[in-house]
């Protein structure tokens, strides 16, 4: 999933005031961006995912407590049965799972989940008329699905698309069995079956609401949408038809000591209601958290000093208020990318290296992540199993003197004084401007002449898609814990408008990539991944800046708050202690 630079904003998760019904347990949280729509097939942004994941479920989910991240069945009965050649996946679906009550199901209000709902949902993603952003998930993977997409292109309108048209690779022999046939091995498939866009969708809902389905999510999850005040707040309530799930009984070694196992085997969810406020400005979001209105909050960059001291622990003021800090690694890497098709940069490796040498990563991390990020030398983040600690030796360190030497070399190649370079920034906001100021400061010190060009996200995307950005600041946060998700960004077949924004093309890399993606996990594949990474780092299509670290503050009344890098629908695990919440209100009153 694409993410903008080192701005580590986390959706605050839960919070509380006194709810109208005194026995009701309410989670309050703040979303840092607007929610675009709750059609899982079309969701491409984290904020909408954070909401929709409380309502929809996939075949699989990540274990809440175990690390490294491990998949467990959610709607599926068990992990898939895979044929020997790795091409046929058979998934048994749980029985007795019902959709949340919705008027689209007519008088009965609900219906049991069937394997067909998955087939329908995935065909819908393939249907070009729905303009789904998530076609990349299935593109070229499932037998017959690409042909289905071709077929939809021939249809005049969305209504003409015939969903009963069979797709060989997607079959539901009975209501509780799903058979997926692949064109080639796809080891990551299980991760994607835990990815929100693959959630099942009831055909009734699509028929009933048409394109308005974005406002009428009907899922099988622990909560259902009660009301959605656009741009303001979203209210969800417990889904009475929820299939029943229990809090995990095992976890990491330290989990028991931290109290994460206190609720083991208790029925989920704990909360009756979720209230998600949309608060796009940082100051009010921080104010709401400090007033105890919302349960958890990422720390806006500029509130760091107030919340956390130099050693990365909470300030006494925060401790006094019983606020907890969670720090965790993000599966993300941030970089300054080069457009390899650019006349000046593409053919001039010393220039790219000079730029790489000129940036003081340590200072960057200190300034923009309060010293808590990890300097990056390659693109696979340390959270990934395939992370290569030795990539540092291949990577380039901060060295302004060396930058100057490389620059001299670069000028020889270019044949004269280098023209002004342009760095595209994906945002015009304050943090982007500060980053730009800092980078420019670094460039100046190394004698580089760079213009920083700030633009809004859509313009930035357009620039990248049309290959007209020379350099750009961007990052990637993994959709699933497989480094393949990063590798594909450098594959020559996916250059812009595909995800390879660098327009990087290296036949050697391509060969390894093609080989590695169809391999099952194992030391051999790790070796190939690392080799591919080394090739990229040597070619220097980007300056790898840092791997993200996220911070979340939460109040002491939220129990079972364990950060998770891939899961979104976590509200079901949180338990609220209302007496502590009341105590905080008292504390606030005293302070005043």
């Amino acid at each position: 999933m694409l993410i903008t630079t080192a701005l580590l904003v986390i959706a605050g998760c839960d919070g509380s005031t006194s709810p109208p019904d005194s026995n009701e347990i309410v989670l309050y949280s703040a979303l840092p961006a607007k929610v675009r729509g709750l059609d899982p097939g079309d969701i491409g942004d984290t904020t909408s995912s954070a909401v929709a994941s409380q309502i929809f479920e996939c075949l699989y989910q990540y274990h809440y407590l175990k690390r490294p991240y491990e998949l467990i069945p959610q709607l599926a009965e068990a992990m898939p049965q895979v044929s020997a050649d790795g091409l046929v996946y058979t998934v048994k679906i749980k029985k007795g799972v019902y959709f949340a009550e919705d008027r689209c199901f007519g008088d009965k209000k609900t219906r049991e989940l069937k394997a067909d709902d998955f087939v329908f949902a995935w065909k819908r993603i393939a249907d070009i008329k729905t303009l789904s952003k998530n076609w990349w998930i299935f593109e070229g993977k499932i037998i017959g699905l690409d042909e289905f997409r071709e077929y939809t292109k021939t249809c005049k309108t969305a209504g003409d698309v015939d969903y009963s048209r069979p797709v060989e690779g997607l079959q539901a022999p009975d209501d509780h069995t799903l058979v997926i046939k692949l064109k080639k091995p796809w080891p990551q498939i299980a991760y994607l079956l835990a990815h929100l866009p693959t959630a099942p969708i009831a055909r009734e809902a699509v028929d009933c609401y048409g394109r308005d389905i974005i406002n009428h999510p009907a899922g099988t999850g622990p909560f259902r949408l009660k009301s959605w005040h656009k741009g303001s707040f979203i209210e969800m309530v417990r889904n009475v038809r929820f299939r029943g799930e229990f809090y995990p009984s095992e976890g990491e070694a330290a989990d028991a000591a931290k109290g994460f196992l206190a609720d083991a085997a208790k029925p989920l969810p704990f909360a009756d209601r979720i209230l998600m406020m949309i608060v796009q400005e940082d100051p009010p979001r921080w104010f709401l958290f400090m007033q105890g209105k919302i349960d958890a909050s990422g720390i806006p960059k500029d509130n760091f000093n107030e919340a956390i001291d130099k050693r990365g622990t909470l300030t006494p003021e925060m401790k006094k208020r019983n606020i907890h800090l969670e720090v965790f690694r993000d599966p993300s890497t941030y970089w300054l990318g080069f457009n390899m098709e650019d006349e000046i940069l593409g053919k001039n490796k010393p220039l790219r290296q000079a730029i790489s040498c000129s940036i003081d990563r340590r200072k960057y991390i200190e300034l923009f992540t309060n010293d808590r990020g990890e300097a990056a030398y390659g693109f696979i983040p340390p959270l990934m199993k395939d992370y290569n600690p030795n990539i540092k030796q291949t990577g380039i360190e901060y060295n302004p003197e060396k930058a100057k030497q490389l620059l001299a070399e670069a000028e020889k190649i270019y044949g004269g004084k280098l023209p002004k370079l342009t760095l595209a920034m994906p945002s015009t906001d304050v943090v982007a401007r500060q980053e730009g100021d800092f980078l420019n400061y670094c460039f100046k010190n190394a004698g580089l002449n760079v213009e920083i060009d700030y633009m809004d996200w859509p313009t930035f995307q357009e620039k990248i898609k049309t290959k007209s950005a020379q350099m750009f600041l961007l990052g990637w946060i993994a959709d699933y814990p497989d480094a393949e998700n990063f590798l594909q960004l450098f594959y020559s077949k996916s250059i812009s408008p595909g995800p390879n924004n660098f327009n990087y093309s290296n036949p050697e890399f391509d060969k390894i990539y093609r080989q590695a993606v169809i391999m099952q996990d194992g030391p051999e594949r790790t070796e190939l991944y690392r080799k591919a990474e080394r090739i990229v780092v040597e070619d220097c299509p980007a300056v790898f800046l840092l791997h993200g670290v996220a911070y979340v503050l939460h109040h002491d009344w939220v129990h079972n708050y364990k950060p998770h890098a891939f899961g979104y629908g976590l509200s079901k695990y949180y338990r609220i202690d209302k007496t502590k919440r009341a105590a905080y209100e008292e504390l606030l009153k005293e302070d005043r």
């Binding site: 675009r36 952003k133 076609w135 005040h229 656009k230 707040f233 406020m277 996200w457």
Partner: protein
Amino acid sequence: MTTYIIRRLFYTIPIVLGVLLTTFILFNVVGGDVSDQIAGKAASKETIAEIRKEYGWDKPLFFARDSQFNRHLINAATFDFGRSWNDRERVMDKIKQGAGPSLSLTVPMFLGTVLISISLALIVAFLRGTIIDVLAVLLCVAGMSLPFLSFILFGQYFLAFKWGLFPVFFWPDLSTVRYVTLPVLIGIAAGLGGELRFFRTVMLDEIRNDYVRTAFAKGLSPARVLFKHVLKNAMIPIITQVVLAIPFLFLGSLLLERFFGIPGLGYLMVDAIGARDFQVIGAMTYIGAILFVVFNLITDICYALVDPRISLE
């Protein structure tokens, strides 16, 4: 009267067409299509072509039966602006939903500002030249000279967060009155200066008229002279200022709504600007202009109601 209104409506046709042409040139010709942005992170050429078809960007701009401009005119005439490409929501639904919250913020703000500033303007105009008047004018100018964003930031930080006098943000359990109070007060504080100064000038122009002296010579009290005689005469500039401000109420307040979580049209605009959602901005621009044209007409009718010298025939 009816003939007058009909004639005036007739005059508005070229204006409305002008507005439509302006928005079309801005958003369709210069702004252009945003299909690559809609397509998302892994777009292919065919998806982009499909999107262009979906939104009609593959059609000629002008001079064809199915040209984009014709489409634009039809959309405007039916008030159906299709779906926002950003979140696939109906543009008209978004606007309808936003109008209420915006009005709940801007109407009290507007009434407060107008009533306070007109009353103060009468008083200040009566006391013209005294130290109170000089101070009031200086305060007004000072208020006008502070950036609006500063008003909001200081107001939210001190009044709401530090001193806890108001809620810092919208909250579902709160009554509307509670959470709009602070933004309304900030809006009034920021807007009062300019309004007060304007109305003071209007009143001063009026208060120098001979009929005011006549009224005083009759033995009327200053309050009666100001509120009965001066105010009604000052109504023409006041109506122009006040009635023509009403269409803007529907647009909400860009900054206040965003900082205080009021899901109105100002908020919608900020989002639309960030996402380059030209459909929303274009629709808002058009609706704003229509409202303006309508209220312009209402203003003219109001003139006739307050001033016997003006006739609509």
